[in-house]
């Protein structure tokens, strides 16, 4: 599967947490290519089911969130839009950024800055807080009032670009890259016999408190689950201790959020597949769907596989398409190895 064009489509679609419509429709169509059984649940999760051969059924849930962080209009002043963040945006990266304001019709906007020519030096050394920033859509105030209303969602306007060395850059790779990896997995499963049922879930509202994962994991009650997300890739200014290497394979997480035996099995699979991989130690909250899935119902053995990503939560998130592809293949390989006796391997005593 060609990752770049797929990730481009996913990245450029809009889908701020809670308002995932555009990306949901896209994911729905993509999932449809691999199974007839695709549905959308009450919270807007897209759930694809690919049946396995085993009776009685056992199931694995793959969860990758499709929502992205964004902005929301809070006030309109003289035709300029005030806004706040939906999800965790870094104020430092918003200045001079282009956005799409999703109103009656989509409007291009600019998060403007005052020209440096008129700014005293001390002003230039201050980060402008979000409540002092605004969006300029370049229309007269009366027209803005007719088109835009408070509560309209705003996404970053950023085209997908291919860099060198198989790296690509764009917005919302957190976590559309994982959706792409799930699709690679589904494609792999099309030509691979597997015993277990597979639920591929594109979850909603992750960035605002994992809402979609909470309800979908409850609804599906899988035997095991693997969350797929992005993690901090190494970049200038960051220590190697707190980051993973971009282009060196998926990061398999370990820590209290992860069932240690599920982790062992994933690592074993990666080794058997001769798949480059890295270990990510997470001493507590993983900040991913895995965090809530693990404690769903009476508890679900959960693992986390992550794609290393540079510049997270900016408009130039950067990753290696190879890592996306490898993540998908690892998941498919792992699912192919699930058999009747697998749950026994996860027993503590």
């Amino acid at each position: 599967m060609e990752i770049a064009p797929l990730l481009k489509r996913l990245s450029e679609a809009g889908g701020v947490s809670g308002y995932e419509t555009e990306v949901r429709e896209l994911v729905f169509e993509e999932f449809k290519k691999y199974t007839k059984d695709v549905r959308v649940d009450k919270l807007g999760n897209v759930i694809a089911l690919k049946r396995g051969e085993m009776e009685p059924h056992r199931s694995i849930m793959l969860a990758g969130h499709m929502d992205e962080i964004g902005l929301i209009v809070t006030d309109i002043e003289e035709g300029f839009l005030h806004f706040t963040g939906v999800g965790h945006f870094d104020e430092r990266v918003l200045l001079g950024q282009e956005v799409m304001v999703h109103s009656k019709r989509d409007l291009i906007g600019i998060i403007g800055s005052r020209p440096p020519h008129v700014l005293p030096k001390e002003e230039r050394e201050k980060v402008i807080p979000m409540d002092k920033l605004f969006i300029d859509v370049g229309l007269p105030p009366e027209e803005v009032k007719q088109i835009v209303k408070v509560g309209d969602l705003v996404t970053i306007r950023r085209k997908f670009i291919e860099l060198r060395g198989g790296l690509v850059t764009g917005k919302a790779f957190d976590n559309r890259a994982s959706i792409a990896a799930m699709l690679v997995c589904l494609e792999g499963l099309a030509s691979l016999r597997h015993a277990w049922d597979v639920y591929a879930v594109a979850t909603s509202q992750e960035e605002m408190g994992w809402g979609g994962a909470i309800t979908s994991a409850y609804g599906l009650a899988p035997d095991i689950a693997i969350a797929i997300d992005v993690t901090f890739g190494h970049a200038p200014g960051l220590s190697e201790a707190e980051t993973l290497k971009v282009g060196k394979g998926p990061a398999i997480a370990f820590g209290p959020n992860i069932h240690p035996k599920l982790y062992d099995e994933l690592v074993k699979t990666a080794k058997e597949m001769e798949m480059p991989h890295q270990v990510e130690a997470i001493p507590g909250m993983s900040g991913t769907d895995a965090w809530v899935i693990q404690v769903t119902r009476e508890g679900i053995p959960t693992a986390l596989v992550s794609i290393p990503l540079r510049y997270m939560h900016t408009s130039v998130e950067t990753l290696s398409t190879k890592d996306v592809e490898r993540t998908g293949r690892l998941l498919a390989g792992f699912i192919g190895r699930l058999d009747e006796g697998f749950m026994e391997k996860l027993r503590w005593v």
């Binding site: 430092r92 980060v127 605004f134 370049g138 060198r164 850059t169 510049y311 939560h313 130039v316």
Partner: protein, 350 residues
């Protein structure tokens, strides 16, 4: 009027010292409208539109081709590029942007530490340019050097889009001036018009200085995309100029006092023609006129500009009406030959 040209100019690559692409575009655009053109040693494009057989005036109209941008100063072992700004750039607008580097227009991003890994005090701190790097996806110095080299220029990757009565794009400072000047060349005037597309304005008005010396104009006009600070804020802060309120005439900026007679000519013309105009906030910014007016024994000069929001950032915004009114005002002012002659009389050279 001239929208297609403005789009092409805006999207062209032309950081100070590297104006080749813009120059080529302009040479193409003025074909058939000028009697002669040449490129001088520093790279200014000087086009001549002749007046009547024995013209009594030599008028220079200048617009600069260059834009602010970046230059690669060092390639790190890990393949990332260190850079310095070319011209005045607020370092706060650089994070999380895409730039195009060198002749190959190699795309790169200026990334930053993710917010999750920032310490509290770091979130409130402006990242300095020397702490930033451009990531082109190369994983080593050698790999990076296959695509870029130290000394390569980088410009913002910004497309030109019409938003309504306004347009957004990069480098309106001063590609909008260039676009106005190209429009002016479609008319013939009762004097010799030297249309000068200058280089290196953003690094110290360098091109205009030598062009004015060579041409020895009797008077000069500078066309600009100027500072505009009309976004909502405390009312006691001047907007500098306002988008949509017409061409901005400079009385005085950091680099020169505009010639009073030329200002009078511009105002009278605007009022006769019913063209809206505004004055730029005094003593802010500077233009090529700063160099031109001090050339040789002096050249009476004035600056007329199209207000642009977010100047020197990846994306600027201007009003198409302001653009058109700037062309109208300049055409009408230049065509009023008698008034221009009066300026000369006052100068005592009749």
């Amino acid at each position: 009027m001239g929208l297609e040209v403005l789009k092409e100019l805006s999207e062209a690559f032309g950081v100070s010292g590297c104006e080749e692409e813009v120059r080529k575009l302009i040479i193409e655009a003025i074909q058939g409208y000028v009697d002669d053109y040449s490129v001088d040693t520093i790279g200014n494009l000087i086009a001549l539109k002749k007046g009547p057989p024995r013209p009594s005036l030599k008028v220079m109209v200048a617009a600069h081709m260059d834009e602010v941008g970046l230059m690669v100063t060092h390639i790190e072992k890990d393949g990332t590029l260190r850079f310095r700004p070319v011209g005045g750039i607020d370092s706060r607008i650089l994070l999380s942007k895409v730039v195009l580097i060198g002749e190959g227009k190699v795309p790169g991003v200026i990334g930053t530490k993710p917010i999750h890994l920032l310490k509290d005090e770091e979130r409130r701190k402006v990242v300095k340019v020397d702490q930033m790097a451009i990531d082109i996806g190369a994983s080593s110095k050698e790999e990076a050097e296959e695509a870029v080299k130290v000394g390569d220029y980088a410009a913002f990757a910004t497309d030109f889009v019409q938003l309504g009565d306004t347009v957004k794009g990069k480098a309106f400072d001063d590609r909008v001036g260039c676009a106005v000047l190209i429009e002016l060349l479609k008319e013939r005037y009762p004097f010799d018009l030297y249309a000068v597309f200058t280089v290196q304005e953003e690094v110290g008005l360098r091109g205009a200085r030598v062009a004015a010396y060579a041409i020895e104009p009797d008077l000069a006009f500078v066309l600009e995309g100027t500072i505009c600070d009309d976004m909502p804020k405390k009312k006691d802060v001047s907007p500098t100029t306002e988008v949509g309120k017409g061409p901005a005439i400079t009385i005085v900026d950091r680099t020169f006092f505009a010639d009073r007679r030329l200002i009078k000519l511009l105002i009278e013309t605007a009022e006769e023609e019913g063209i809206p105009y505004q004055f730029k906030q005094p003593v802010v910014g500077g233009t090529d006129a700063g160099a031109i007016h001090l050339t040789k024994e002096g050249v009476p000069s004035a600056t007329v500009a199209v207000p642009c929001r977010y100047l020197h950032s990846p994306t600027c915004l201007l009003s198409l009406a302001d653009f058109e009114n700037t062309v109208r005002l300049m055409k009408a002012a230049l065509l009023s030959f008698n008034n221009l002659c009066k300026v000369m009389v006052l100068k005592g050279e009749s």
